[in-house]
């Protein structure tokens, strides 16, 4: 009681504002500091999202006012062969791109996670394509995959194999695009894996070595579980990136040959910005959003089985 009284007296004598008022003031400051971001969020993310949800239920050609059509665009979309074909192309691209980039990025990170002279230079070299624009990458890719003058066909010729039409053959175009996308993006994922690898305590490897664990076992039982969180992050980011791919095909193939590399976002872009069908394009965007969300939720659900946050 005495203590309480003394405390109460002390509080009463404290010239600073009460805890409630202080928190209110802090909240106001917090809002003030966050307001630029909140404004940005509302104006450039929340509002366009809501607007596109509204447009997805309208017939909107960008010229006349939107006309409400309910779920008409979604009904059309489910019967749109081109949409399903582009979704198939996107899925095929993802199946090739996501595992290849993840495995390669991990391999590179392990190879470059050495304390050797000049290692920073190699790391930087793998990162250069990440910061290059797709237009530049398209030129580099042309030097490799041009059917007449490209390096890839020169190598095949040297090996006595026939030339290939890498970007002109419907059967090869998506694998070729996936290879180029891996080349461009692997550096970024490699950096994430490097950070993950460097967070694994060295003592674990030393203890395993003393216990006689082989290099493979050290990788299998220490490295892989140790970077499972990073691997999960890489998989989620890469999957989302793949489903949103646009710039690469827009610059390199424009969806050709005859639609074989037309991905869903390119289809969406054409509907909205070339064919005056912003309502339909918005419906495609929302279906794609739901697919990305579903895939991400599945990944989050599955991570419980294999990701270790130690």
């Amino acid at each position: 009681m005495t203590v309480l009284t003394r405390k109460a007296g002390k509080v009463a004598a404290d010239p600073r504002p009460s805890s409630g008022r202080r928190h209110a003031g802090e909240r106001a400051w917090a809002f003030a500091f966050a307001s630029p971001y909140l404004l940005h969020l509302v104006a450039l993310a929340a509002w366009p999202l809501l607007a596109s949800l509204f447009f997805s239920m309208t017939d909107y050609d960008l010229v006349s006012p939107p006309k409400f059509v309910g779920f008409g665009n979604f009904t059309r979309l489910f019967g749109d062969e081109v949409f399903w074909r582009t979704l198939g192309n996107t899925a095929y691209f993802a199946v090739l791109f996501v595992p290849t980039q993840t495995v390669l990025a991990l391999g590179l990170a392990i190879a470059l996670n050495q304390r050797l002279r000049g290692m920073a230079l190699f790391r930087a070299a793998y990162f250069v394509p990440v910061v290059s624009s797709w237009v530049v990458v398209a030129y580099v890719a042309d030097a490799v995959f041009n059917p007449q003058t490209g390096l890839a066909n020169q190598v095949l010729g040297f090996l006595g194999l026939p030339s290939e039409n890498w970007l002109q053959d419907p059967a090869l175009v998506i694998p070729t695009l996936a290879a180029v996308a891996v080349w461009k993006g692997v550096g970024y994922m490699m950096v994430l894996f490097l950070a993950g690898l460097q967070a694994i305590p060295e003592e674990r490897y030393e203890a395993a070595k003393i216990d006689g664990a082989s290099a493979w076992n050290r990788f299998r039982y220490i490295t892989l579980p140790g970077i499972s969180g990073t691997t999960f992050l890489v998989l989620v980011l890469t999957s989302i990136e793949t489903l949103q791919s646009f710039e690469q095909v827009f610059v390199m193939t424009d969806g050709g040959p005859h639609g074989a590399s037309e991905l869903t976002v390119l289809h969406l872009y054409r509907q909205g910005f070339q064919f005056f069908q912003m309502g339909y394009a918005s419906a495609i965007a929302w279906v794609l959003f739901v697919l990305v969300l579903a895939l991400t939720l599945v990944q989050f659900r599955l991570q419980r089985r294999w990701v270790h946050y130690a």
Partner: protein, 429 residues
């Protein structure tokens, strides 16, 4: 203090709103006109257009022109969003094939009555802009039509006579075979006689199908009729040229050259003959190719001449004063002086007939003008971009050998018709 801030803010908003709606002529009668056109940065067309705008504003001091320029794809992408936001230029240069797309959606002012005030006989291409209902939404700025380009040096080396107006597709094939050469004996020609396939179908399958008696769209460009024995014969001829006859680079070789390079096959001497619109004279001349042009050869149904008339269009949301100023600009640009200056660029056939008759190089003039006179439009309608995209995919499948010609024509016709029907039947989008 607060009141003063509010008053200032209100004043700023009022000024901004007034500026945004400044479409009508002010008290002094001055009007501001936003004029849009597409050109790459630093392109000579950009420079010439700016000079012409200067001339125009000097002659019309009450009209102030704000320019909006961007490369082709960016220009039309931005234009669509500007229209949605009510910020579009009041007058802009439209690709001829897009005029009806914008008009059908209510973005353009009807120019039919204004066009009646000019002597139509003085200009080319006005009728190509008339829609199925007889209305005109664009006034010609420059025309493009394909003719047969041939490389004089390669013809002389192969001892082949220059093409004439009497040539048929058999004559073309016979000459092209003689012109195809494998100089380094690697089993693949280094020079081909003719370019049959091009991703730009104006210079490829479209006129060839028409020359063979087929057609692409009829009935006011609303009915797709490409699936016919004549179209099949045309595509078979092209496949033969790229296959068994071997005088034209095949689909993969052409596409493998890249978007920009395809159109320079002739300019780089890789092909001895090619169909090309007037704009192709520029790269050929810059590359120093000694070339001539001739009418496209005759097929069973004629030459299949087609044309695109790039046109000035006026926004429907332009105020009456702006629409008048826009029309003033259009008539100024169509006049002899500006047309002559524009013709110096060498990128389009002048639409002013008097200028076209004198400003075009004498050895090329007749072939282009005859082709333009005989041309039909390129199947333009409200969904031109979308239906030709659907059709092109299928036809390129056939020309690459990925699917049989019959199947490609039938599927292409069905898919293109679906696009047209969806718009004109007024269904969901």
């Amino acid at each position: 203090m607060r009141l003063r801030m509010l008053a200032t803010a209100a004043a700023v908003l009022t000024v901004a709103a007034t500026a945004a709606c400044g479409g009508s002529a002010d008290e002094s009668g001055a009007v501001t006109l936003k004029l849009g056109f597409y050109a790459a940065a630093g392109d000579p067309a950009d420079t010439t257009m700016r000079e012409l705008v200067k001339e125009f504003t000097a002659a019309n001091p009450s009209i102030k022109v704000q320019l909006e320029v961007a490369p082709y794809v960016k220009f039309f992408e931005k234009l669509r969003t500007e229209i949605a936001g009510g910020q579009a230029p009041q007058v802009w240069l439209s690709d001829g094939v897009l005029v009806q797309e914008f008009a059908a959606r209510g973005a353009l002012a009807d120019l039919t009555d204004r066009v009646k005030t000019v002597n139509a006989a003085d200009y080319s291409g006005i009728e190509l802009n008339r829609d199925a209902k007889g209305r005109i939404y664009g006034f010609p700025q420059g025309a493009q039509t394909p003719v047969l380009f041939y490389n004089k040096k390669l013809f002389a080396e192969a001892k082949v006579d220059a093409p004439t107006a009497d040539w048929t597709y058999d004559d073309l094939a016979a000459a092209a075979k003689k012109l195809t050469k494998d100089t380094n004996n690697d089993g693949k020609p280094d020079t081909y006689g003719f370019r049959a396939y091009s991703p730009g179908f104006t210079e490829s399958w479209w006129p060839i199908i028409k020359a063979f008696g087929g057609d692409i769209v009829t009935d006011g460009n609303r009915k797709v009729v490409v699936d016919s024995p004549q179209s099949k014969a045309a595509l078979d001829w092209m496949l033969g040229a790229m296959g068994k006859d071997g005088f034209a680079p095949d689909y993969a070789t052409t596409e493998g050259l890249g978007k920009g390079v395809v159109h320079t096959l002739f300019a780089t001497g890789r092909v001895a003959m090619s169909y090309g619109i007037y704009a192709r004279t520029l790269p050929a001349a810059s590359a120093g190719v000694d070339f001539g042009v001739a009418p496209m050869p005759k097929g069973p149904a004629g030459r299949g001449n087609v044309a695109i008339v790039n046109s000035w269009v006026v926004s429907k949301s332009a105020s009456p004063a702006q629409a008048d100023a826009a029309w003033k600009w259009i008539t100024f640009f169509s006049g002899e002086g500006p047309q002559r200056k524009w013709a110096e660029l060498g990128e389009a056939i002048p639409i002013n007939k008097k200028v076209a008759a004198t400003a075009l190089p004498a050895d090329r003039r007749q072939a282009f003008l005859d082709s333009l006179d005989a041309a039909t439009d390129l199947g333009v309608n409200a969904v031109w971009s979308e239906y030709t995209e659907a059709l092109s995919k299928r036809i390129s499948e056939a020309l690459s050998g990925a699917s049989p010609v019959d199947t490609a024509l039938a599927t292409g016709q069905k898919e293109a018709q679906e696009v047209i029907d969806r718009f004109y039947a007024g269904q969901t989008q």
